[in-house]
Symmetry: C2
Subunit: 651 residues, 2 copies
């Protein structure tokens, strides 16, 4: 931090210096547009005398035509009271530095400014990705683009498209058009759209890695090409969730001929050096039940299904290499004789990754980064790809851990709520992958996450606004203040509980199931819950003396206690809200219990054990999930009750 | 209204019957997408057995390839508990009927439904337009498109693009490329984009009428082609607002040659039968100061500038006709010898329109429909193109009044706030132009306007969400509850006062002036102000007996009284909020005055005259505009004060 700040006025200007390439020019154009958006000032990007420029942007040398994983992404940003300079080896650092500049801008009593700073910045890991499943629900081009904008804002650099699975084959193949024609319900990206998307990402310093999952997770391929599979067919697009039997037939040469042609086509469409072949979750049932395959295994001395998959993967690796790509796959692809060039993406964990690194394989971490698990940001933030690696891996081996990828699996996610499932939590993962390992302050992280979240909505992400619309839709009115009070106090149950609940209810979840319930609309993490918990901790820490904190606690508790009465008419009018009735009553109970606790504390009177036990029983009861929701505020209410009973009199 | 309702379930299906054309098919595709959005159910549009279809759509005959003003737009919609049928002569009625269906859908305790109805519907006027100025500030293609969606939702059918003016020439000309190259700051629509836009509008039953304003309002043309003008040049793009001297030179044949070629090019680009040549606000100064033009006038016996403009307009009309278009222009184009085929768009009023109709001219009303005047919806709603026409015009003459256009002039409007300046108020004008003249219930209008407003946000219009972002930007935080309380209680001053204020402040408003102040961010009409005023009226009408109303009034008054304290820290931290300090204090004063009044009333005690006079003085004082805002809640507070002093004791 320096002293003072650079004013951002209508005369703000940028000059390009050093090596010039169109990508940098477009990045500066976007920067000026975004700065204009941040300030509400109509800024123009036009030629000015370099001596008068507010910001000088200097790249040393060209970036690679196809972005490489090893490219230098560092930058140096100097802001003084009179001007700013951004220097980087190449376009990638420039893009990152421009994002940092945008983050620095703030409003003050005298105008918008960027504080004086000297920043030397570079990422800890070269692979900072977001894996988006676009198969289980189709995610539109427009939504992908705004999420790419979000990724660029938090300096992520890999968009991994999980582009085919049992539920949909989402890209146009000209060689095998039945893939998309029969395997997508008409919801796929044309090759023109893919090229456009890759250009859009490349312009923002983001590589696009396609994943075509094989030999399992491939039902959608078999609808048009049943001969690829190990079963008799015919096939239909799978609409349920889970692990299914269909798998490619590794015993037939025609399978590899098909894949050679197909991978050749896709290797050209996707210019990135890496090509992801999935490889996860093959249950082997089709192989076990196919006599020819069993014969083949015997003839080739392949004892287990795992051996057979290894055989398949080795053959596929040769094809991928032939088309000048580096193969990436999930943990399962690793096995004997696999060339050291491949990359393992681990859903199993850091130990699996470290083991691979010891064997000479590069890897990226996704275990712990599954956004669909609906965990709080701090949990993702605490997961480090190098956990324990210092102790167990040599520096050489450590370098093989390339980074990580947040994963957005979309069983319960659509265009409408995907932004809120990714953002702002993915920003916490982005920071983990960019910044120093010892950066662990959760309080600071949440403060900055809030600022990032606000910026992301400016970038047209709809992680907040779309949810409001979903609330209004459920209620049939925009007068939803009471619904918001409830929505702010709850969180979705874990994915596992949600799946179990659906099963218990006898309903099979498919991609035709409407995702229009409260659990689909609320944010994964309750900000009010976190805030209330902080307040209670502060209250306890102040030995119950902090009156302002007490007032805030009371206000929240009162709003909960009184909410069920206000909310009931809405709940009665909507079939989508009916299921919230017990949750709403529980919140009212919690509000009442918390208020009684505060009363005891205020009167400096120790609450009787019988009261305490009653309240705890209530709290335990209301903490059981209902409507696939949990009350995020319950644990802190329990803390208040315990305090009133145990330490309330101990001022 | 029938009995019962049609359930809208995941099995909802549509079948096309009768005459089929791609435009109808695409309309149904969008309908299914919108219905899916409204319900959160993943509906698909696919072939089903007609006998099983939920909705049967039947068009009798083809719509015109180029939409015509005289086309039948009627439709009949039948919804029963078991199915629905939409019938229309052609695609236009189908589109309108589908929008009506979407409006009918509501959530109930048992699911989404459309109530059973029989609707026979057709528009009162064939020309229901929105005129958008895209010159003074450039409005992007994306924003135009979402506004076209809004227009379609309220059954408007003409997008009038005011595409050139002193401040910018916004379309690509291949014949005269310096028009956009030098006259637009690079902000114009390419011909490809225009074709795309017209196709988008046509798909939604909306004609696109271009306006190229001439001979005045044309500075932007002269930057590249000074020889067209009546002055010596050179010219720069005008950045200020107002009426300027530059005008085309009507005395030179080269002007008409240019226009012939130009209009020929644009007549091809814009397929609509109508072509708008503006014609307004020529101050004649350049003509008066140009000796050649004065000689020309004498030689041609043109006595006044008006005569000269008439000469020009007649020449231009011949060119427009030659290119097979019907000329439209503002009031000023009307004069002797003008062919009866032309259409007058009136900014002067219904009398001007009626006078023209008597002379045989067709006309459309825009006077009273200027959205930039920031008037409340009910004011626009009260303006009828046929006001008094029943009495003064023959049926034949009445038919010449084709309808009206809402006008969005954009001196103080950008991409960011344009949605909120157009919506939802334009919907009130749309209803005026579609529905029966005797429909005048303002209360009902506002109820329905709220429902429409909610639907428009679902259509991706950002008239509400963008404003929230602007508040956050001004405050530098998302914690803006106190700012919202103030924002909800104020309205922008009239355009005229805003312009005067800018002048007094010595600042010249240009299109470089940031539009990021509170006055730019708030909605044109205060919903809270309207609500509060209703409450006070109800309270008075109940003879002060309605306790629930009283409680609501009190709650609002308390929130205002206490707001300045809460808001002050925000105001101090932002240069954009500083100017709100007096407004915030005024709101607190109003809250206090209102509460005292309610206290007197409650105590059944007549407030002393001295108190009353003091309060009235305060209220008068705070009603003076500050920061270009007025307190929308002041008049109702005054009513409370008067009630307390005059009638408070008269229970």
């Amino acid at each position: 931090m320096g002293t003072g700040a650079l004013p951002i006025a209508g005369s703000f200007s940028v000059v390009l210096d050093g090596y010039k390439e169109p990508r940098v020019d477009r990045a500066v154009q976007r920067f000026v547009r975004d700065l204009s958006q941040e300030t509400g000032m109509p800024l123009r990007y036009e030629a000015v005398n370099p001596a008068n420029a507010t910001l000088v942007v200097h790249a040393d040398y060209p970036s690679k035509p196809i972005q490489e994983v090893s490219e230098d992404e560092s930058y140096v940003l100097d802001v003084s009271t009179s001007g700013a300079k951004l220097t980087a080896p190449n376009a990638l650092g420039i893009m990152h530095g421009l994002q940092t500049f945008l983050q620095l801008v703030e409003i003050t009593p005298t105008g918008f400014v960027a504080p004086a700073v000297h920043i030397e910045d570079s990422p800890r890991f070269p692979w900072r990705g977001l894996c988006m499943d676009v198969s289980r629900h189709f995610i539109s081009q427009e939504v992908l683009k705004r999420n790419i904008d979000g990724m660029a804002a938090v300096k992520m650099n890999v968009l991994h498209l999980h582009i085919s699975d049992d539920q949909g084959f989402r890209v146009e193949s000209k060689e095998f058009p039945k893939l998309q024609q029969m395997g997508s319900d008409g919801r796929y990206y044309t090759q023109v759209e893919i090229r456009d998307l890759i250009g859009y990402a490349s312009d923002r310093g983001i590589r696009v890695v396609p994943e075509f999952d094989m030999p399992g997770h491939a039902t959608a391929w078999f609808v048009g090409y049943p001969e690829l599979s190990s079963g008799p067919g015919p096939y239909q697009i799978e609409r349920r969730w889970g692990i299914f039997d269909p798998a490619m037939d590794p015993s037939r040469e025609s399978t590899y001929k098909f894949l050679d042609k197909f991978i050749g086509e896709m290797a050209e469409l996707f210019p990135d050096a890496y090509f992801h072949i999935g490889g996860d979750e093959v249950n082997g049932k089709q192989w076990d039940g196919n006599k020819k395959i069993q014969d083949f295994m015997r003839a080739n001395k392949l004892k287990t299904d795992q051996d057979l998959q290894q055989y398949f993967t080795l053959r596929v690796e040769k094809i991928v290499s032939k088309h000048h790509k580096i193969m990436v796959g999930w943990d399962e692809i690793l096995g004997p004789n696999m060339p050291k060039t491949i990359v393992i993406q681990s859903w199993r964990g850091q130990d699996s990754l470290a083991a691979a690194a010891k064997q000479g394989y590069s890897g990226i971490l996704s275990s712990g980064y599954y956004l669909d698990a609906m965990a709080p940001a701090q949990q993702y933030y605490s997961v480090d790809p190098m956990a324990n690696a210092d102790a167990t891996l040599t520096p050489e081996e450590q370098k093989r851990i390339l980074g990580g990828e947040a994963c957005m699996w979309v069983e319960f996610v659509t265009d409408e709520n995907i932004d809120s499932r990714i953002w702002p939590r993915a920003a916490a993962i982005a920071e983990r992958l960019w910044s120093a390992q010892q950066l662990q302050d959760v309080g600071s992280m949440y403060l900055r996450l809030e600022a990032v979240s606000q910026r992301l909505e400016l970038l047209e992400l709809r992680h907040r606004s779309n949810l409001g619309q979903m609330f209004s839709r459920m209620a049939g009115t925009e007068d939803i203040a009471a619904l918001r009070v409830l929505a702010d106090a709850v969180e979705p149950v874990s994915l596992q509980i949600r799946e179990e609940d659906a099963e218990k209810a006898g309903g099979i979840q498919t991609n035709d199931t409407p995702l229009n319930r409260m659990v689909d609309a609320i944010a994964p993490e309750s900000e009010v819950g976190r805030r209330f918990s902080e307040l209670v901790n502060q209250f306890v820490a102040s030995n119950f003396q902090d009156d302002q904190v007490k007032a805030e606690i009371r206000a929240l508790l009162v709003s909960w206690r009184d909410n069920d009465n206000r909310l009931r008419p809405l709940l009665q009018n909507s079939y989508l809200l009916k299921e919230l009735s017990p949750v709403s009553q529980s919140l009212t109970l919690l509000g009442g219990a918390g208020l009684q606790a505060v009363d005891y504390i205020e009167k400096d009177e120790r609450a009787p054990d019988s009261w305490r036990n009653e309240q705890i029983a209530v709290i335990q009861q209301v903490q059981k999930p209902a409507a696939d929701l949990v009350l995020a505020v319950a644990p802190a209410v329990q803390k208040l009750v315990e305090a009133a009973a145990g330490t309330g009199a101990k001022k």
